[in-house]
Symmetry: C2
Subunit: 162 residues, 2 copies
């Protein structure tokens, strides 16, 4: 079971957009540069985030994108599902209905117990990701970053916005 690497990219991009000065939009090329990832591949994931209503085109002559909502209203789960899809990790193929004990469909009155525990685990996973917002992540990044990194961020921000 593996999440797409685009999940990491998408979350980092969401955090960066969250900490930009108000009304500052960033083009995909800047987001790719900041994270050291290939533009074309990142663009695919960012488009998925736009389709999911997480990111919108900014206004003004520079173009670029910004978060569609305040960061506190964008959950980690939304970004994960936008980039990686909403399908549960476990796909029940109902193999209990095969083989020598197979009975007619209407005799399977309840969800297979194996499916049920996997659905429960999927729900707690998503619930945990839904509880954290991009604003929470951004606060954490700002708190954890070294003074040197913050200084470099300031320099980059000036270059991008000037």
């Amino acid at each position: 079971m593996r999440l797409s690497e685009g999940v990491e990219w998408g979350l980092h991009c969401a955090v960066l957009l969250a900490v930009m000065p108000p009304d500052t939009a960033l083009p995909t090329s800047r987001l790719a540069e900041f994270h050291g990832v290939p533009v074309a591949y990142l663009a695919k994931h960012l488009q998925a985030m736009s389709r999911a209503g997480i990111r919108v085109a900014g206004t003004g002559p520079r173009g670029g994108y910004r978060l569609a909502r305040v960061p506190a209203d964008v959950s980690v789960l939304e970004v994960v599902e936008a980039v990686d899809g909403e399908d549960p990790a476990f796909q029940c193929l109902e193999i209990r209905r095969r083989g020598p004990t197979a009975v007619t469909a209407r005799e399977y009155r309840t969800m297979c117990g194996i499916h049920r525990v996997m659905v429960d685990a999927d729900a707690v996973w998503r619930e945990r990701l839904a509880r954290t917002s991009v604003a929470d992540l951004a606060q954490g990044v700002a708190r954890d970053a070294s003074p040197k990194a913050m200084e470099k961020f300031g320099t980059w921000l000036q270059e991008v916005t000037s």
Copy 2:
């Protein structure tokens, strides 16, 4: 993100082994027949379960395998990890260390906040799966199965053990 279909197969096989009469071992061919899945592909997953200490070779002239422990001591998580591996779904590639704000390695004093929330979510997912045993699953299957399915199971069991 997708779990291998072998997870469903492995869990169903564990449940079937759990409800077999004491000292009854089942060969891979019987497990495949019961679940309507290809023997060779199932064998790969069952071997992973044997390596993980979930399943052991039975004794007696018929050969086959049985659970290595009482079903209450085998968790769903153990089967999932045996078949699908123990790697977390999210792989942090530390992209925060790239680009214009990169600083020296020792200045990253804490785990990336994005990584941390994914690690937390992974932990609650595994915790949920660890809380359910193969015995729990087996009880649920027995409770939910229709009388007709139980009757067919009885007939199959007689054929297998006679």
